[in-house]
Symmetry: C2
Subunit: 220 residues, 2 copies
């Protein structure tokens, strides 16, 4: 028996993901939960506050996934981070797909977002540095390391929704985890030492067996 606040967040997330933030009204959310609009507004002062609360979940998720890397960084761990990142993007896909509009009309949210994204890019840059130091990755100019980290960030952030929008379905049914990791990891693999690249590839195959989406070897 989750608290009402959490039920509202879960229901909102479900509707936002399936119908889009704009199409979903506070009354729809209340309806969906078999609850009155008045009650919903007792728990959240506005739709904006619901979205902010969902962002706080994302924030906590992301910082949990990106804990301090082990030294040395292992292919297995690295693959897991990518996989977990994609999974969070998938579960909160309404947010990642609509961030520009959402941040554009809520400066409080925009500010929190800037904090999180800077943190993620810094973390990714640091992880890349560690990979270089441990000899798993070729050295890169400082500017290019930052660009590379930002590219990884952008691909993971957008891969899911873009795949959904550009194939037959605007809304995918499931996250194709393996393909997503291969996409994002492809930014890094050309810089990897060959043995490390092969190990990462093997770790991805192992980690994505049995996950939703096409599995290794299946026809496309």
């Amino acid at each position: 028996m989750a608290g009402t606040k959490e039920r509202i967040l879960d229901g909102s997330l479900e509707l936002f993901n399936s119908k889009g933030v704009t199409a979903v009204t506070t009354n729809h959310i209340a309806d969906h939960l078999g609850m009155s609009p008045g009650n919903l507004y007792y728990h959240f002062r506005s739709k904006e506050h619901i979205i902010r609360a969902l962002f706080e979940r994302i924030d906590a998720d992301a910082r949990g996934i990106m804990s301090p890397p082990p030294e040395p960084i292992t292919p297995r761990w690295w693959a897991e981070v990518f996989l977990n990142g994609l999974d969070t993007v998938w579960r909160y896909r309404f947010f990642f797909a609509g961030i520009v509009e959402l941040a554009g009309r809520d400066e409080t949210l925009a500010s929190r977002l800037r904090g999180l994204s800077a943190w993620i890019v810094d973390w990714t840059t640091a992880a890349i540095d560690t990979l270089v130091e441990q000899g798993s990755m070729a050295a890169l100019a400082r500017d290019d390391r930052r660009r590379l980290a930002e590219n990884v960030f952008i691909i993971i952030w957008n891969w899911t929704s873009f795949t959904a929008a550009f194939r037959g379905d605007v809304r995918l049914e499931e996250l194709d985890a393996r393909e997503g990791v291969l996409h994002s990891m492809l930014l890094l693999t050309p810089h990897f030492e060959p043995g490390f690249a092969a190990a990462v590839r093997a770790a991805i195959d192992q980690a994505t067996v049995g996950r939703p989406g096409p599995v290794p070897g299946s026809p496309r």
Copy 2:
């Protein structure tokens, strides 16, 4: 003296880019143009139709930029394609940033979009093949060539809006063309033959001198 239809499209684009599609109503657009709502509706049956017409401009732009590549592909030409692509994304940024919501509520638009994006990815894949054939780029597995093309597509599509959202400004004043090309080109450069990579880099520097945004050598 552009026709009224074109004036409406220009004005809508300006407002969509600066305030976001959701915040801009048909009445705002009419106001902005010193025109009556009735007149606007005489020219476009709905807001949806305005957005569709703007997409047609994007479609024409994109197909114009991605004309058949010269053989061999030159660094200069390649840099220009990236630069022009980013420029179109910048000019119609409301669309690129909001595509998931937009496509989600207009199946006609979604269908047109899928056609264009498939076309762009195919074109990019073919260009990569040409680079490999002419010896400017290392060979890649077939799946990875497609993934690489899709990554380039995703980065160019999103780099502008993400840069805007994740720095101090949700709305950038200008396109930082040089940084955008360096970001997107960084997906390809590790696969380039060293001489070609250096030539591309030089072509980017030359092409972006005098463009808006930080210029080569300026402090960040």
